[in-house]
C-alpha cells in the first residue's frame, strides 16, 4: 500500500523555478508517467518523492504520513537514475547486492545471492555479473541500474528514463517486464520518459508538467482525448497533433484561435483542398504530409494508399479540439 501525495510543492534553484505549486495524488498501485520537455520539473518531482531534495514550500505524504523531513532511506523508495550512478569500485554483482546489504535490511547472504540472480536473469545481464560496473555498455549499465532498484521489493519505485539507452527490442521486452513487476508487486510507480509508447502503454495516469507547473493529471486516454491546452495535447501522440489557425476550416466556435487535429481525426474525401507534399510508407500505416494553404499537417491513411507527391485531396476535421489565443482549450 503506497499512496503518494504532493501538496503545494514549490522548489527553486537560484532564479530557476523547478516546481511551482504542484499538487498531485498518486493512488496506490498507480503507474504515473511524467511528461514534459527538459526543465519541466519531471526529475525534480522524483527527487522530491525520494527525499534527495526537499521542497521550499509544501509537503510530501506517503500513505497520509508527512515524510517531508524524512531521509531517503526512511522513505524506503527505489530510484533509477537517468545517469545510472553505478558504483564504479564494485562489480555488477556487488552493485546489485548493495541495497540488500544496507544497514536497514541486512539481508542474509543466500537470500542476496538468490535475489541478485533472479533480477539479473530478468534483465538479461546474468553473464555480466562479475564484470566491473565500468566495463559495461550504456545499455548494460542502465539495466544494472534498474536491477539495483528491483532487488528490493518496495512499494514505491521512481524511474528516470530507465529505458532510454536500450535498443528497440530490449526496450519493448523490458517495458513489459517492468509493467508486470509493478502490477504483481502492486507497487506505485513514478516514471519519467519521452517515449510515446511507454507513456501510452504503461501508464495508468499521466502528469503533464510545464515549467514546473502540473498542467494536467489523469489517465492517458483522457489526456489524449481531452487535453486542457495545446501544450498538453502536444505531449501525447505520434505523429504529433496538428495545430492550425482556427479559420482554415469553417464552423469554428467564437474565441477560437487554433484548431487541433490528431492525425487520425482528419477525414479524407470532402472539405478543404490540400496538396500531398510527402508520402511515408511505414508498413502498417502510411503518413501523408499535406499542405493546406501553406500550413503543414500530417495525417494517416491506409498502408496501400496509391497517393503520391503532388496529388490533391479534400479533407475535413473530425472531433477537432479548439484552443484560444493563450493555447487553452475551449471545446
Amino acid at each position: 500500500m503506497a499512496e503518494v501525495s504532493l501538496q503545494n510543492i514549490s522548489r527553486r534553484y537560484g532564479d530557476q523555478v523547478a516546481l511551482d505549486d504542484v499538487t498531485m495524488t498518486v493512488p496506490d498501485g498507480a503507474f504515473v508517467v511524467l511528461l514534459g520537455p527538459t526543465g519541466a520539473g519531471k526529475t525534480t518531482t522524483l527527487r522530491m518523492v525520494s527525499g534527495l531534495d526537499k521542497p521550499d514550500v509544501g509537503k510530501v505524504l506517503i500513505n497520509g504520513e508527512d515524510v517531508s523531513r524524512h531521509t531517503p532511506a526512511q522513505r524506503n523508495v527505489a530510484m533509477v537514475f537517468q545517469q545510472y550512478s553505478l558504483y564504479p569500485h564494485l562489480s555488477v554483482r556487488q552493485n546489485l547486492a548493495f541495497p540488500l546489504k544496507s544497514p536497514m535490511l541486512r539481508t542474509p547472504e543466500d537470500e542476496i545471492t538468490r535475489k541478485v540472480a533472479e533480477v539479473a536473469e530478468t534483465l538479461q545481464i546474468s553473464h555480466k555479473l562479475d564484470n566491473k560496473a565500468t566495463e559495461l555498455s550504456g545499455g548494460e549499465m542502465q539495466r544494472v541500474s534498474i536491477g539495483r532498484a528491483l532487488v528490493r521489493d518496495l512499494q514505491i519505485y521512481l524511474m528516470d528514463e530507465p529505458l532510454s539507452s536500450l535498443d528497440a527490442k530490449l526496450r519493448s521486452d523490458l517495458r513489459i517486464v517492468l509493467k508486470r513487476i509493478q502490477t504483481s508487486l502492486g507497487a506505485t510507480m513514478l516514471y519519467v520518459t519521452h517515449d510515446q509508447i511507454e507513456a501510452m502503454t504503461m501508464a495508468t495516469h499521466v502528469g503533464v508538467l510545464d515549467h514546473g507547473k502540473l498542467v494536467q493529471f489523469g489517465p492517458p486516454r483522457e489526456i489524449y482525448q481531452n487535453p486542457v491546452s495545446i501544450y498538453a495535447a502536444s505531449r501525447l501522440g505520434s505523429p504529433k497533433i496538428n495545430i492550425l489557425p482556427a479559420d482554415v476550416f469553417p464552423a469554428a466556435p467564437g474565441g477560437a484561435h487554433s484548431i487541433g487535429l490528431r492525425p487520425e481525426h482528419i477525414g479524407i474525401g470532402e472539405g478543404a483542398e490540400t496538396r500531398v507534399v510527402r508520402v511515408e510508407h511505414l508498413g502498417d500505416q502510411t503518413r501523408l504530409h499535406l499542405s493546406l494553404n501553406g500550413h503543414d499537417l500530417i495525417t494517416l491513411t491506409d498502408p496501400h494508399s496509391p497517393l503520391a507527391k503532388g496529388d490533391t485531396l479534400r479533407i475535413s476535421p473530425q472531433s477537432p479540439l479548439y484552443f484560444d489565443a493563450n493555447g487553452d482549450r475551449i471545446t
Binding site: 545517469q83 558504483y87 548493495f98 541495497p99 544496507s102 549499465m141
Partner: protein, 313 residues
Amino acid sequence: MSGFSVTEPSRRQKWIAGVLVITYALVTIMPLLWIIATGFKSPEDAISYPPKVVFQPSLEGYVNLFSSRTRITESMQETLQPAETWYDQVARDSGTVIVGASRYGQRFLNSVVIGFGSTFLAIVFGTTAAYAFSRFKVPLKDDLLFFILSTRMMPPIAVAIPIFLMFRQLGLNDTKLGMILLYTAVNLSLSVWLLKGFIDEIPFEYEEAALIDGYTRFQAFYKVVLPQAATGIASTAIFCLIFAWNEYAFAVLLTSGNAQTAPPFIPTIIGVGGQDWPAVAAGATIFLIPVMIFTILLRKHLLRGITFGAVRK
C-alpha cells in the same frame, strides 16, 4: 614492424627516451648508492681518495650505529675473554668493546610513531574536512580554504619560537604527542587541498544512489566515497609521511631525548669516537627503509582510473 605510425614511437625515439630515462635514474640513484655503499665500508675506506668502488665489505658501520663502545688498548684486549658474538668481534677488530646499545633504535622507533601517527591524523582530519568543503555549504568556504593554504605560505620554521613557547607552556616539549600534533597541523593544509581535489572529482550522484539504497549520509561516505578516494588518500598519505619522516628543524628545536626522531639523531653519531661516516651512512640507509616500504605498499592504489566511467555524462 615497418611503416609509419603516429601512436607507436619509432625505434630512434625509443632509443633516445631510454637513454634519457637511464641518465636520469643514474643521477638520482647515485647519492643513494653512495650512502648505501659507505655504510658497508670501513672508516678508512669511507674517507679514502679517490673513493673506492671495490672494497672489503664491513659491518662495522652497522655495529657502531646500534652500539655504544669504549676504546681499549691492545694490552687490555689480550686480557679479555674471546668475543662471544659476531658483533663483539667486529668491535674488537677496531679496537673497542661494546658496552651497551646505542639510542638509535629508540630514536628510530620515535620516528615511526611520530611519522605514521601524524600521517594517520592528517589523513583522518584531511579527508573529513575535504569532504565537508567539497559537499556542504560551508560559510566563508573560500576564505577558510585560503586560510588553510596560507599556513603553508611561509616556512613553518618561521614560527618556531612561538611554537616552542607554546609547547613549553603546554608541557608538550620533547613529547611524541607534541610532535604528532605539530606535524599533523603542518600537513593538514596539504592533505585538505589535495583530498578536496580528489573528492570533488567523485560525482555526488553515487552518494545519492547510496542514500536511496538505504544508507545514511555517513555510511554513504564510508562505503562509496572513501573507496573511490583511495587513490587520493594513498598519494596524500605518502606526501604527509615523507614530510613528517624527514623533518629536521622542528625536531632539533623541540625534542632532545624522549621524543627525538632519527633525523636530528643521525648527525650526532659522527661525534662518537672520531668521524664515523660508515655509522652515519648506515643510519641513513636504515632510515630510508620504512618510507620505501610504505610507498611500495601503496603503489597499486596510486594507479588512477577507478573513478571513471559509470556515470553517464
